[in-house]
Symmetry: D2
């Protein structure tokens, strides 16, 4: 029986967030919707996600961009690729208890590279962060 | 009795890595040396630091750039500032058991912004990653 | 008599591209449409825009991101601000004779910083480049 | 008779800056010194290099990063490669009449990608800009 893109994305998130590696830091992420090459995710900001001033940590924001765009890529490639460049612009702090929505998508699959983007918004629809992530996927 | 820059940096790392927030992911980081505005750090790559393919996770690499350049900034500013942009170029995978060296420094303190850079190398001196991190610090 | 956002954007482009400074390199840019904080522009790739291999030069692509997001900002701020960070991901070459479309918009105006994005596509709708541009605008 | 790295770099700059393409915007650049994979360049900021507020244009700064790191790459590869990502952090304005020094170097040559960096300083040694430039070079 075939799985829907949403089921596939949920399996990816469940599998990865149970890892003993660093991916477990995204274990609070939920899949909202998915189509091949794109996923919409949610995460409620918790104490374990905070920086010293008490807002969403920039390192976790970068990790969300890295991991969730990789999931969008996995959903069409079947392999995660290797990061070459990651850029994040931080626009607004997110506070504990807020739920952020992360939209991650593959913008372009070239001959050996894939270009992806993630957009993070808060409940009011304000932009929290914007990320671009380039990966080497191979032929 | 005055503290040396090295003692100050060790206090920052100890304080922050005991946090209940996201900074605890860098609790394996050791300070090698420090001068005001610059620190050299080491971390032995462990299982908890890995991505799915089994090498240093790109999200943790970005977190090391974020946090350790902030420590370099803290050592001269006394406040961490707020990230505006973070860029990481990933050049070589780091494997479990390898010790990486991270050199983090403030390149320029402008009127309201601070520009920092981190360079990550492996034991052979090969470049693992290079990061630029811009923060709003205020007057 | 009030000017429409489209008229305002056309005046900005005409004024700037007649400058004796570096902005004259974008003198082939046409305004397609504009609303406050966002503009859609077109440029036919000509010989003067090319790199050594004969496609749209990456430096000009970066300049288009820089200048056209600044125009989007000017349309709501009345001042250009000062660049702090510019990131461009290059996805596909553009050839002489092709017309590229550049959509430039302000994503977020913070207390002292503005965050903008530009998206460049070719006539087939393929992504040519994606840019993020952060500027200090002040209070 | 073999050419020195300095002679090779000067030939590259002369050849490219006489192009009818976009590279001619860097025709005021002089080579100060060169070793394989690295060049030091100088440029006196002139009127044609300015933005609207009258300082070195951010698009030209990005072009200098793009082109001069490509020259550093050319000096060891014999081919320019194709840009995948370019990041520039702008730290200080440069004024007309000032001479800026650009140090461009290859940080790492991977299997298919090359990672480069450019550092731009003014006559006082202040950092003007810092750039990272990733290129696909192939095997």
């Amino acid at each position: 029986m075939a799985s829907s893109p949403l089921q596939v994305m949920r399996q990816i998130v469940q599998h990865v967030s149970k890892s003993k590696g660093f991916d477990k830091v995204i274990d609070k992420v939920q899949v909202v919707s998915a189509v091949p090459g794109k996923g919409v995710f949610e995460m409620k900001v918790a104490d374990e996600h905070l920086n010293m001033p008490g807002t969403l940590h920039g390192g976790l924001t970068a990790t969300l961009v890295d991991v969730l765009t990789t999931f969008a890529l996995l959903s069409v490639e079947g392999k995660p690729g290797v990061s070459t460049d990651l850029h994040v612009s931080y626009m607004k702090a997110a506070k504990p208890g807020e739920t952020i929505t992360i939209t991650a998508e593959v913008l372009k699959r070239g001959r050996t590279l894939a270009y992806t983007r993630a957009e993070i918004k808060n409940e009011q629809g304000d932009m929290v962060a914007q990320g671009l992530h380039t990966k080497h996927v191979g032929n």
